[in-house]
């Protein structure tokens, strides 16, 4: 049905446009598909929380920039001890929260200890797990000691889950967020929008925008209509790829295709037959034409991947051609593994388009190699409880959007049931490595090991298709971390 609407919409775009409303020079209205469930990134995993608050309202010691690099934020600089165990952060002085409370080392200590406490509900508590202690030699110096060297630690502290909240506000940050960022929270009209305004007491460089409004529009055709009517200045993750060609042809808009960290996979339960056999998993990888899948399910937007890593990540190696599309070879391999033609594979499909449309295409590819797919649509809540928590699945399509999460394949208990001592040992070596060249080398080895074992079928990285007013400058093109950082956004004259 959604498709029908979008087609109707696309057809009608052939008609001339009404003039869009003139935009004021220092306000921005931005569209998002999902409304955040609360505005506290330390108390929930939803990407939408970060897409409103990251870098805008809240800051951490370090931050991730548009290129995915770690940059100073509340820490002006830092040093790492040669053994990789002590991180000394030099904090900016004179920083205040939106509620007037001062930011200093005691807040760092409070925040990290809160994330680690037994009653912590931080959705990424694992990021903090290497921390042994936080010490405050003086107000603007924070010394974080680790239990063991952790190569990803600085990047991890740049996640939205590691931002600093005003300690007095933690009980109410979900509805009334208080951070140190260049924008302060104004109001949240539930079900409709969140409004921010420039924070005059910001410690760093003041943003050009005075007011920012995030509007939540879940229906793809409504999103397209709102962009075309000029109600929105930008839709950084535009949900209606069918109308993009029309928008590209319109000089009022910039259509920018970037990348995300969303690694879309056909997850396989390695504890279940026949997926315990590596030949079967490799056969499935050869049975699916990744580029065809991207064309058919994602309107052509997406990048094939060969391991759990995306091309913009540091140390990426291209393993896409490891299992080239070859139904005949796949059939042979399946026969070798003793999988009978006509075997049915149940694939659970959560709600996103990549899974529902992707599932139909994958079913067709599997049919070509003699397998039958039984597609079972599930709700998001059912997916989390069934396949994810209880491992109750044979196969499922899912996109893992956490950045650089090679660790999930090294976990003791994870829903893939991939148990490779070789991979775990490589991962431990990678985290322990303090030398950047050694780290890069090991990241390569991890990817190769994954491609070898193909515990899941690596399909493609989700694209970030952004549509915004052609006069807008400074929008993020890629999405190395879930965020709509508008601190550097401005209007061209």
């Amino acid at each position: 049905m959604g498709r029908l609407i979008v087609c109707t919409l696309a057809a009608s775009l052939a008609l001339p446009f009404a003039a869009g409303r003139a935009a004021a020079k220092d306000t921005l209205t931005l569209g998002m598909v999902l409304e955040p469930p609360g505005l506290d990134p330390t108390a929930g995993a939803a990407a939408a929380i970060r897409e409103v608050t990251y870098a805008n309202i809240y800051e951490g010691l370090v931050r991730i920039d548009a290129q995915g690099k770690v940059r100073p934020a509340l820490a002006a600089s830092w040093t790492i001890s040669p053994d990789g165990l002590a991180y000394t952060f030099h904090l900016h002085s004179g920083v205040r929260f939106h509620d007037g409370a001062p930011f200093d080392c005691s807040v760092v200590k409070f925040s990290y200890e809160r994330a680690l406490s037994p009653d912590s509900t931080n959705a990424q508590k694992g990021l903090f797990e290497p921390i042994a202690a936080v010490a405050c030699p003086d107000a603007t110096t924070a010394v974080v000691t680790l239990k063991r060297p952790t190569a990803s630690f600085l990047f991890d502290m740049g996640w939205g889950d590691a931002v600093m909240l005003s300690p007095a506000s933690i009980a109410s940050d979900r509805t009334n967020p208080v951070g140190t960022g260049p924008f302060r929270f104004v109001r949240w009209v539930k079900g409709d929008r969140v409004e921010l305004e420039r924070f005059s007491g910001y410690w760093g460089q003041a943003p050009k925008l005075a007011r920012v409004t995030f509007r939540f529009i879940s229906d793809p055709s409504a999103a397209a209509a709102a962009v075309m009517a000029g109600d929105l200045d930008a839709f950084p993750n535009f949900p209606a790829p069918e109308v993009l060609d029309r928008l590209k042809a319109d000089p009022r808009f910039s259509v920018v295709v970037g990348t995300t960290e969303g690694k879309t996979i056909l997850a396989l339960n390695n504890a279940r037959k026949p997926f315990d056999d590596v030949r079967v998993r490799r056969a499935l990888a050869m049975a699916i034409d990744r580029q065809g899948l991207i064309e058919g399910a994602m309107s052509g937007y997406g990048t094939p991947i060969g391991a759990h890593y995306v091309p913009t990540d540091p140390g990426y190696i291209d393993l896409v051609s490891k299992y080239p599309y070859n139904p005949e070879a796949a059939k042979k391999l399946l026969a070798e593994a003793g999988v009978k033609p006509g075997t049915t594979i149940e694939i659970k499909l959560p709600p996103p388009v990549y899974a529902r449309r992707g599932g139909e295409l994958i079913a067709a590819y599997l049919e070509q190699v003699g397998l039958k797919a039984d597609l079972v649509p599930v709700e998001w809540a059912q997916w989390l409880e069934g396949p994810f928590r209880n491992g109750d699945y044979a196969a499922t399509i899912i996109s893992h959007t956490e950045p650089r999460d090679l660790d999930i394949f090294a976990r003791e208990k994870y829903y893939f049931n991939y148990k490779s001592e070789a991979y775990r040992s490589l991962f431990a070596q990678y985290q322990a490595a303090t030398d950047p060249t050694k780290q890069t080398e090991l990241v390569g080895a991890l990817q190769r090991q994954l491609a070898d074992d193909e515990p899941v079928v690596f399909l493609f990285a989700l694209a970030k298709v952004g549509v915004w007013n052609a006069k807008l400058r400074g929008m993020w093109i890629n999405s190395p971390i879930p965020a709509n950082d508008v601190t550097g956004v401005s209007w061209a004259e």
């Binding site: 029908l4 009404a18 009653d119 912590s120 694992g126 509805t175 229906d219 209509a225 709700e379 928590r389």
Partner: protein, 316 residues
């Protein structure tokens, strides 16, 4: 009358209790852990346990049910797990969109449908009847979300008269608020009006064939007078029944139109709350909606009494 009120009130209480139990049990057995939804794929056993405890999900089901019902009896509708605000405030804000939208749609639909239906009945088989009923046929067939999109394309994208969706808010003035409700109300009203017009036509046709209308004509009334004084009033009972049903539907069954127009109404709230397992919001809404359907039905019953005094005598 008193007996009617009393039985209605008893039915209200019984239905609400039954609805509360059913929705609670259904949500309880439904797969999907609200705490897991909040923590997502990074969830660990320890954080999950901590959050479940914080949300009170580790209590036995019967105890959670009693806490919920007890809270409502004290006027405390609970706190939304998604939004972190009292559910009462949340529902009140959404009702300020859904209720006016439903009223506007039902008024538009009634104003359109009754004249259409009566006119078609009065000119049965003639050109007017055929064209009106063909229009109604199209109206029934057209899905309201599609109509909504056409309205957006015409009035927002092409003419730029009205915003392409969203709700201005009552604080921006009645004009702006009604402006953002007008197109969705129209999109809801037209298909409803088409149904209502057909019902009106057949009801009026039936009364036109009754003896009392023939008598009225025989005693010298004009066709018009017989129609409006005798046929139409007697045809209103099925019409009012349909209006009541449509209104109940409009209170929360408009999720598709709310999505198309990005309106923060009750339909989207309940839809989101189910997807996000915001249990107390779903529970409260189901109970409130069950209650409002009963109230609407009661209003319809009162309308019957007013329309047909024989019913009152039958009661007494």
């Amino acid at each position: 009358m008193a007996r009617l009120l009393l039985t209605r009130f008893a039915a209200l209480v019984a239905t609400l209790l039954a609805a509360s139990l059913v929705v609670f049990v259904v949500l309880d057995v439904l797969p999907g852990d609200p705490a897991l939804l909040i923590l997502g794929t990074g969830a660990r056993p320890d954080t999950l346990a901590a959050l479940r405890h914080q949300m009170g999900l580790d209590l036995p089901a019967w105890w959670r049910y009693l806490l919920w019902i007890g809270g409502i009896l004290h006027g405390d509708w609970g706190v939304s797990a998604t939004y972190g605000v009292p559910v009462g405030d949340l529902i009140a804000a959404r009702a300020l969109v859904s209720l006016p939208l439903a009223v506007l749609a039902i008024v538009l639909s009634t104003l359109l449908a009754i004249p259409m239906g009566v006119a078609a009945a009065a000119r049965r088989g003639r050109a007017l009847d055929v064209s009106l009923m063909s229009a109604a046929q199209i109206g029934v067939a057209v899905p309201n979300f599609w109509l909504g999109l056409l309205l957006i394309l015409l009035f927002s994208v092409q003419l730029a008269w009205l915003p392409a969706g969203g709700f201005a808010g009552w604080d921006k003035g009645i004009g702006a608020a009604l402006g953002s409700l007008l197109l969705p109300a129209l999109a809801l009203a037209l298909p409803q009006a088409a149904i209502l017009a057909r019902v009106t036509r057949s009801a009026v046709l039936e009364t036109l064939g009754q003896d009392y209308v023939r008598t009225a004509l025989a005693k010298g009334l004009t066709g018009m007078a017989a129609l409006w004084r005798h046929a139409v009033p007697n045809a209103l009972i099925p019409v009012v029944t349909i209006i009541g049903m449509q209104f109940s539907f409009l209170l929360a069954g408009t999720v598709i139109i709310e999505n198309v127009f990005t309106l923060p109404g009750l339909g989207r709230l309940i839809f989101q709350a189910i997807a996000q397992r915001d249990l107390v919001v779903v529970q409260d809404l189901v109970v409130l909606l069950a209650g409002s359907v009963i109230v609407v039905n009661f209003a319809v019953d009162l309308a019957y009494l007013w329309l047909d005094p024989r019913l009152t005598r039958g009661e007494g």
